[in-house]
Amino acid sequence: MSLSRKTALAGVYEHPARFAPNKSMFQIMAESVRGALDDAGLKIQDVDGLCTTGMGMSGMGIVGFCDYLNLTPNFVDSTSIGGSSFVAQTAHAAAAIAAGLCNIAVVVYGSTAASQRFAIGTGGAGLGGGDPCDQYEAPFGPTTVGAYAMMARRHMHEYGTTSEQLAEIAVTMRLHASMNPAAKYRDPITVEDVMASRIISSPLHLLDCCIISDGGGALVVTSAERARDLKHKPAYILGCGETVRHPARGRRDFMEMAAAQSGRLAFERAGVIPADIDMAMIYDSFTITVMMTLENLGFCKRGEGGAFVSGGRLRYDGALPINTDGGGLSSNHPGMRGIFLVIEAVKQLRGECGPRQVKDCELALCHGTGGALGTRHSGATLVLANQ
């Protein structure tokens, strides 16, 4: 059974807040739901599916949010696999709609990471919890950035990748942010600026790392048929894939990511290949995340990422534009960025992106990475089209 073109994104909304000390997480989420429903031309009473999760939320947070908005949906999903969660939840909502479990699903996210001073990713907080695996990691002081930095070091060793090549990615994201009025950091930077910024965890510099902001957003998923009757041209869901990677009992090849599997599934299910994609939203927790994800999704061969990201290829006017909103490196990163990947892809497919609009954008890919590449992570891929 294929999911292709049975469902679509009918509404999207990115909350403009980047620092919102006077708002609760649930308020940001509720305002995002309103924004996405307005965008679709729907009412809160139309919603019968709800998907959410968040770092600031309790394990039953989705029930609490339904309470906050007085919702009693027929479908709930609080899949929590890190920053990729909202990409996976979009796919789950699509499958639920195709299976007749609900008709109008909202995927929503909100966070006050910056105003509450969460030490997310770049903040350099320690990783570790109470799971069995944590007992063999937490004593050694792993950090999120450190777990990615170890992958960058290995990539440099295996393939000769340079810090300058990684810096190209940060420079391109900042260029895109300069064309996004909502982005947190909009002043252009150079490769030299990235190289001169302090090392957080070698070989990654401060400007190789995502920023910390508040923020939120929401998406409306419905059947393709229903979406065609709503306000905007639908962004059809063509294919999806998700999986996880971990140390594999001590045997993992760490240069292989979840993206290799989730991407293959999404491309197969969508019936397209990487060369068909007009623009991609690639989770950019760190510059190395982008380079390895592009390799693992098959946009270039493993080890060729350094050359691939050079020469402006990733710019909005390049051969493979990525993260045209400025990404987590420059626009916003409230801790779990997956929802913004889908929002910007939909805006690009609608042609709403103004100066950063990708020309003739008909087919877009979103790939979320959640967790830490160097320990455990999830990957979720979506392929979207405007026809």
């Binding site: 570790g128 002081g141 290995r154 070698s202 001590g250 160097g374």
Partner: protein, 143 residues
């Protein structure tokens, strides 16, 4: 996490939670010995220790003595970590080392500076007695 409150006071970094499933691993480290698990049915080696073989789900496990020789698979010098115990120890080196037995282990490299570390460099186990109850497996350049 820690067995005794007094340990926590002196030793600020997180300590592992020792339970029936992992006790042989931690007790071996306390004796300054390194053992990894091997499935008695299919022979698959695994790290970290767990009750069932991930290859065949057999609960029949033997412990294989390791020589503690390894090579650096990758590493990072951590310059920023606000967590107690680590913020005082900056910069410290996080690494994956690959044991001669073929398993990759997350650890700290000690007795060396970050600029002395190279991927592929031979390293050897050192047993760091963090508290009276817990010994941690770390690695240093091979002598």
């Amino acid at each position: 996490m820690a067995d005794e409150k007094s340990d926590q006071k002196k030793y600020a970094k997180p300590l592992p939670r020792i339970d029936e499933e992992n006790r042989p691993w931690w007790e071996a480290l306390k004796r300054h010995e390194l053992y990894i698990q091997k499935c008695r049915d299919c022979g698959d080696l695994r790290y970290y220790p767990r009750a069932l073989c991930t290859n065949c789900l057999s609960p029949r496990t033997e412990w294989l003595r390791c020589g503690g020789k390894a090579r650096v698979y990758t590493f990072t010098a951590t310059m920023q970590n606000q967590a107690p115990g680590f913020r005082e120890a900056l910069p410290y080196i996080m690494a994956y080392v690959e044991l001669d037995e073929g398993l990759k282990v997350l650890t700290n490299l000690v007795e060396c500076k970050p600029d002395e570390v190279k991927i592929g460099m031979p390293v050897e186990a050192v047993f760091e007695d963090a508290t009276p109850a817990v010994t941690l497996l770390k690695f240093r350049p091979a002598r």
